[in-house]
Symmetry: D2
Subunit: 268 residues, 4 copies
Amino acid sequence: MWLRTSCDMNFDIPEPTPFILMLRMRSGAQQWVASEKFVLSPSVPVFEFTDIYGNLCQRLIAPAGRFLIYTEAEVMTADQVDEEPGAPFVEIDFLPDSALIYMLPSRYCESDRFNQMATEITAGLLPGYDQVKAIETWLCQSIRYEGGGSDIPLSAVEVNRNQQGVCRDFAHLGIALCRSISIPARMVVGYLHGLHPMDLHAWMEAYVGGRWYTFDAAGTDQKGGYVAIGYGRDAADVAIFNQFGPAVYPVSQSITVAQIEESINPNA
Amino acid sequence: MWLRTSCDMNFDIPEPTPFILMLRMRSGAQQWVASEKFVLSPSVPVFEFTDIYGNLCQRLIAPAGRFLIYTEAEVMTADQVDEEPGAPFVEIDFLPDSALIYMLPSRYCESDRFNQMATEITAGLLPGYDQVKAIETWLCQSIRYEGGGSDIPLSAVEVNRNQQGVCRDFAHLGIALCRSISIPARMVVGYLHGLHPMDLHAWMEAYVGGRWYTFDAAGTDQKGGYVAIGYGRDAADVAIFNQFGPAVYPVSQSITVAQIEESINPNA
Amino acid sequence: MWLRTSCDMNFDIPEPTPFILMLRMRSGAQQWVASEKFVLSPSVPVFEFTDIYGNLCQRLIAPAGRFLIYTEAEVMTADQVDEEPGAPFVEIDFLPDSALIYMLPSRYCESDRFNQMATEITAGLLPGYDQVKAIETWLCQSIRYEGGGSDIPLSAVEVNRNQQGVCRDFAHLGIALCRSISIPARMVVGYLHGLHPMDLHAWMEAYVGGRWYTFDAAGTDQKGGYVAIGYGRDAADVAIFNQFGPAVYPVSQSITVAQIEESINPNA
Amino acid sequence: MWLRTSCDMNFDIPEPTPFILMLRMRSGAQQWVASEKFVLSPSVPVFEFTDIYGNLCQRLIAPAGRFLIYTEAEVMTADQVDEEPGAPFVEIDFLPDSALIYMLPSRYCESDRFNQMATEITAGLLPGYDQVKAIETWLCQSIRYEGGGSDIPLSAVEVNRNQQGVCRDFAHLGIALCRSISIPARMVVGYLHGLHPMDLHAWMEAYVGGRWYTFDAAGTDQKGGYVAIGYGRDAADVAIFNQFGPAVYPVSQSITVAQIEESINPNA
C-alpha cells in the first residue's frame, strides 16, 4: 500500500539547544520512499551524518523561541508483513557480523536478566521464528496496553514488573526476551497505518531464518502498513529527536498516516 | 538560494538489467535538501545502501522495456561558494583519516604522472588554496571547453593531451594536479543553476585550510547555485547510474534547475 | 614505559560454544603495540571483524573439552596519563559525530537518571575537565572499593545504591554521571601496570577540550601504565570474551603485566 | 602450513616525511595470525586507522636520517588455495554491497577498456570460476614474466601493450579482465612461501560462487602458502608504504618467508 505520513512538532525553546534528529527514512527491502519533505522553521544550518546503525541523522542548533519541525513522506510498504513459521534459529557462528550487536544487552533491554523467563515462554518450541512468535503472543496476553505513559522510557525489567506499558515498552521487553535466548532483536521506530490514536509507533524485528522479521505485540490488529524511520538497540538509539541541555518537549505534536494512490511522475 | 532540480531519464531496456543509482542527495554544510521525490516506472523493488564515500546508493533490476527514472528535489544552497585565498596547505600528518583516500591516484586521475606539471603551474605560490586556485585558472586558460564529448570518460592524461574537454574532464585534470602536490581532491557530481545548456554537472573540491572548498574550471561564470548529489575519487565512483551488462544509455534525458521561493510548511 | 602483558584463560567447554573475543589491541595516540602473540589450543578457525566502536573482534567456535586462550603483547604506553585542568567542555554542536554515541544512556550507565546528582557533585566548577575530575574524586571518596564482586556487571544505579564496587562499577557510575551533564564518556578495558591484585582492569575516558582523557577512580595510585584493549559504551560492549549458550567461565585465568626494556629489532 | 614472515626496510629520509603503512595483517577465513612484531627505529608516535577496505593502516612521520621498519609474523595459512571449477557467476543483484566497489574501473585496472578481449578469452565457458581460470591461464601463456620492473606501477592497458610484467602487472591485467565481464576482482598484496627470488608478492581474488577465490598468474607453481597483508582495488590502494613528499625508496629491503612448526603456548 501507498501511505503519506507526516510529523509536525512545535517547540518553545528557552535557549539555543542542540538537536540530533532522525528525519530521513531509508528505502529498503520492505519500503520504498517515493518522496520526502522537510521544513524547519526558522531555517537553520543542518549537518547530516550516518550513525553506527545506518540511520541518517541531522544535527542542528534550535534557536530560542518557537521552533517547528515538519516532515512528510510518501512511502510504499507491504500490506502485510512477512511471516514464516518454522524459520529456523540461526546458529551464532552463522550470524552476519552486523547482527551481533543486537545480541548484547542495552540500556532498556537487560537481556542478561531474562534467560529463564524466555526459556519458559518458549518451552517445547522449534528454535527460531516460533520462539519469537510465542514471545509476541505472551506479551499480548500478559502485558496490559496502557496509553499515555511517562516521557522517560522504562526498561524491560521495569515493564515486566509493571505488567503494563505502551508500544515502546512491549518492544523493550520483547527484545530483551529474544536476546536472552540468543536471537538478535532490534527496535524500530516509525509509523503504522491504522494506529489509534495516531502517534509515532515502536516495534521490534528479530533475526531468524537468515533475515529480519517484524513483530509487534502492542495490542494492534494491523497486518501491515509499517513505515520504518530508524533502527537501533532500543529507545536510547532511535529517538526521533535527541536534544541536549534542559529538557524540551514538543508543545504540540501531530502525526498523520493516510493511504494514497501511487505516486505518479508528473511528466510520464 | 532555493532551487528546484529535476532529472528525467528514459531507457529502453533490452533485457532485465541491474542498476546502481545515486538518486538521494545528502544535507550538509553547504546544502539543505527540503524535499525529494523519486519515481520509478514501472515500480520495482529497491535496496538502498551507503557506499564507502558516504553516498546513498540504490540497487534495482530494471525490467525489459521502457523504464523511467524521475527525481525532483528542492534544495537551499549558497548563492556564492566560499572562497578563502591564503587558506593554508594541510600537512599530511594533520589530514583527517577520511581525506587520505583522496590523495591516491584513481582511474581517471593519474596523479602519479602530474607532479612536475603541477609544480610549474603553482610555482611561487603559498601552499594551499592559492595553489588550487592557480590550477583552476590554468585549466580555464589552457583547456578548451568542447561540449558533446564521448560517453566514455577520459582520464587526466588524455584530457591533458587533447587540451579540450567537458566539465568532467576539467575536474579530472584538476583533481590529478592537486593530488600530485599532496592536496586531497575529490569529484562532485550534481546540478548547477544557470548552466547552459542545462545538464548534469561535475566539479571538484579540494581540502585546504581544514575543510573542503569548491572549484570549477569548466568555463562557467556561476558564483554559486551548486547542488551536490555524489562525491567520489573520480567519475568511476560518482555515476548517477551504473548499469551492468550490455550498455544501456538513456533514450532521452532532461535536466532542469529553477530558482524558487523557500519551501513552506503547509501547516505553518 | 614498555610493558609486557599476558592473559591466559582456560575453559572447560561442555559443548561447542560460539565465542566473540577481543584479543587484538590497537595502536593509537596513547600506546604502540610492538608485538602480539595469540595461542588458541586446540587451534580452530577464526574470523576477524571490526565492531562499530573500532575494536578488532574474533569469532570462533570453542570445541568441547579443555580450551585455552593465551595472548601476550609488548606495548609502549605513557608513564603518566595526560591531565589538563581547565580543559573546556565541548559544546554539543562541536562534538565529532563519532563522540555522540557516548552521550546516550547504555545498559549499565543509565545516564538519564543522574543529572541532578552530577549537577550537585560538579557545582560551581568550570564546565569540562574539572567536572570530570570532581566526579572521579567523588567516586574515590564515596564508593568503597570491594574486590571479588559478582560475575554479572551491576549498573550505575545499582552501584550508587550499593556504595561499593570493583573497577568496572566505578567506571559505570562515573560514565553515567558524565553523560548526564552532556560530557561524552566511554569505557575502556585493558591492563594496568602495578594493579594489585593483578587482573584485567576497567576505567573510563571523557571527551573534554577536544580529545579523550583517561580517568580512573578505582582506588589505585597509578599515574600511568595503562594498556587499552577495547572501547565501548559500557561493559556490555567491551567483554574480553562474549560467549553464547550456557554460561562458561574460565576455570583459571592469569594476567601478568611486567615492565620491560624496549623491544629491539633482532636485525638492527 | 605455519609460516614465519619478515619484512625489513631501511630508508634514508632527507626530511621529516609522512608515511602511511600497512603493517598489520588480519586474521580471516584463510589465515590465522598467531603473532606479530613491529619495530620502528627510531621509535615515533603511530596512529592506527582502518581504511575503507578494512585494512589496518598506520600513520607516522618518519624523522630525517636512517629510518628502519621491521615486521615479523607467524601465520597459519592453507597448504593449497581452494579451487572450485564450476562455481557460478553471481548475478549482480545478488552480490553483497561490499563487493560492488570491486566491479568499478580503478587507477591501474581500466576495466572499461577490456570487455571485448575478456569475452574472447572466456568464450564458450560457464560463467563464473571457469572464466576467471581461463583468464589466469591466458595470462600465464600470453604475458611474459620479467622481473625488475619499474618502481611506478603500470596499468592493465600498458601491461597488455607490453606483453610482459611482474606479479603486480599480472594482477592488474587479470583484475581488469574480470571486472570487464562483471566479476568482482580485487588485488591482494602479501607474502608467498617459495617465491623465488623472495620478495613481497601481489595476486588477485575474484568473487564467484558466493565467495572470494585466489588466482595468481605470475608464473609460480605454488599451490598455497599465501599470506595476505592488504586488500584493495589495485596497487594504488595496497601499498605496504605510502609516503608523501619527495619520493623515498628503501635503500635496502629484505623479505623472508620460512616454514615453521606450529606456534606453541609457552605456558601450556
